[in-house]
Point group: C2
Chain length 230, copies 2
C-alpha cells in the first residue's frame, strides 16, 4: 500500500477516489496551490501525492506545467482494457486451481453487499462493482497481482469517464454471479470465458462515441472528499 508521509496520504487517497468516482474528470487541471488549501497542507505534501498518482497512471505530470487528471487517448483506452483482460484472465486461472470453498464464500458475501446498494446508492454501487474485481485478485493471495489489478481497474474507470456516455451499469450483477458459479464448479475454462465476456461487454459499452470535456471547479469538488466518505 501507500507508505510515505502521513499528511500526503489523505491527499493521495482523496484525489484517487475523486478520479475513480469520476468527480474529477480526465484533463482537469490539478494546481498544487488550491489542492493544498483544500487539505490545509503545503505544496510539498501535495506534490508527493501527485508524483505517486502519476506513477500509477491516474495523473499526468508535465514539467513546469503541473498536473492534470490523465486523459487517455482512444488507443490507450484499448490498451488498458487489453491489459485488464490479461490480468484478470490470470486471476481466474489461479483461483480455479485453489480451494474454492473460502473463495466462493468471500465472493458471495461481497455480492450480497453489491445487491444491497443496487438502485439505492449509485456511487457506492459502482465502487463495489469495481471492488469485486479487486477482491478476486486479492483472493489469489498474490499481492503483486492484486496491486496490478487494482491499478488497472482504476485506469479503466478513467477510460469510462473519458469515453462512456453514462457511467451507469459498468458491471452487471448477474455476470458477477455467473463468474462465481463457474469458480464454484471449478471450471477454469468457463470462468475465464465468462470473465472475458464480462469485461468485453464493459469495454464495448464504453468505447463508442467520445463526449468532450466539461471542466469543473476543482476546489469545490475536492471539498466533498476531504473527510473520507466511508
Amino acid at each position: 500500500m501507500y507508505k510515505s508521509s502521513t499528511r500526503s496520504f489523505p491527499v493521495y487517497d482523496s484525489l484517487r477516489k475523486a478520479i475513480i468516482e469520476q468527480a474529477l474528470r480526465p484533463g482537469v487541471k490539478l494546481p498544487e496551490d488550491s489542492i493544498g488549501e483544500t487539505f490545509s497542507v503545503s505544496r510539498t505534501t501535495v506534490r508527493n501525492a501527485l508524483v505517486r498518482l502519476d506513477a500509477e497512471g491516474l495523473v499526468d505530470l508535465q514539467p513546469n506545467r503541473g498536473a492534470s487528471v490523465a486523459d487517455p487517448t482512444i488507443e490507450e483506452a484499448h490498451d488498458i482494457f487489453e491489459m485488464r483482460q490479461c490480468l484478470e484472465r490470470e486471476v481466474m486461472q489461479r483461483l480455479c486451481k485453489m480451494d474454492s470453498k473460502p473463495i466462493v464464500k468471500a465472493l458471495k458475501a461481497h455480492l450480497a453487499e453489491e445487491r444491497k446498494y443496487l438502485d439505492v446508492d449509485t456511487t457506492r454501487s459502482i465502487r463495489l462493482a469495481g471492488e469485486f474485481h479487486i477482491l478476486l485478485a486479492e483472493l489469489t493471495g498474490s499481492k503483486i497481482l492484486a496491486n496490478y489489478v487494482n491499478e488497472i481497474v482504476s485506469r479503466c474507470s478513467l477510460v469510462l469517464a473519458r469515453f462512456a456516455q453514462a457511467h451507469s451499469a459498468q458491471c452487471g450483477l448477474e455476470e458477477h454471479t455467473e463468474i462465481i458459479a463457474a469458480i464454484e464448479a471449478g471450471d477454469a475454462d468457463r470462468a475465464t470465458r465468462r470473465m472475458h465476456n464480462h469485461l468485453h461487454g464493459v469495454q464495448d459499452r464504453a468505447l463508442l462515441n467520445p463526449d468532450d470535456d466539461d471542466k469543473d471547479n476543482v476546489s469545490d469538488i475536492l471539498a466533498r472528499y476531504v473527510t473520507p466518505n466511508s
Copy 2:
C-alpha cells in the same frame, strides 16, 4: 516515462540503475541527506525520486524511518517471478499474432549486441540480457504492457540480488536465440513454452540458498552512477 522535475530524474535514474545492477543491494539504507550531497540537490528533490521508486517497488519507504532498497521475502520473490511469467506469456502471444518480419529484425539486432559484449563487459552484458525482454514487450506496441514488463524485470533483478549467489548468466544467449526462432516461425505455442522454460531456468538458478547482507557505503557506490554510464 518519468516526467516531473528535471533535477529529480537523474537521481531517480541513477538509483534505479544502481539497484538493478546490484550495486545497491536489498536492504541498504538510502538517506536523503547523503544522496542529495552526491547529486548536489536538495532533499526535496531526492524525496520525489524515492517516492517514485517506492511506487515501482524498488524502494521501501517507511514513515519516519526513511527509504531503503526493497528487500523482498522469498514469498514475494516467487510472486514476482510468477507475475513475470504471466506478463511475458502475454508478450509472446501478442507478438506471434503480428507480422514477424520487423520484429525478428529488431530482435536479431539486439541479439548481436548481446553477443558482442558477452565475456567482455559483464555488467553491460547483464543489462542487455534484461533489455531483451523489455524490447520484446515494446515490440508488442503496447506501452502499458511494456511498462509493466520493465517494472517486473527490474524487480526480478532485485530478487536475484537478494537470493542468487553469483549473478552470473541470468539469461542464456542460446535461449534468446531459440525464442526468436520460434517467433520467426510464427509458432506461438513453442515461443510461449520456450519463454516459460527460459524464465523458469532463471528462477531456479536464483531461488536456492539465500546469502545475507553485506552493507556498503551508499555515497561511494552512487558516486559511480552520477554520470549516466551510457
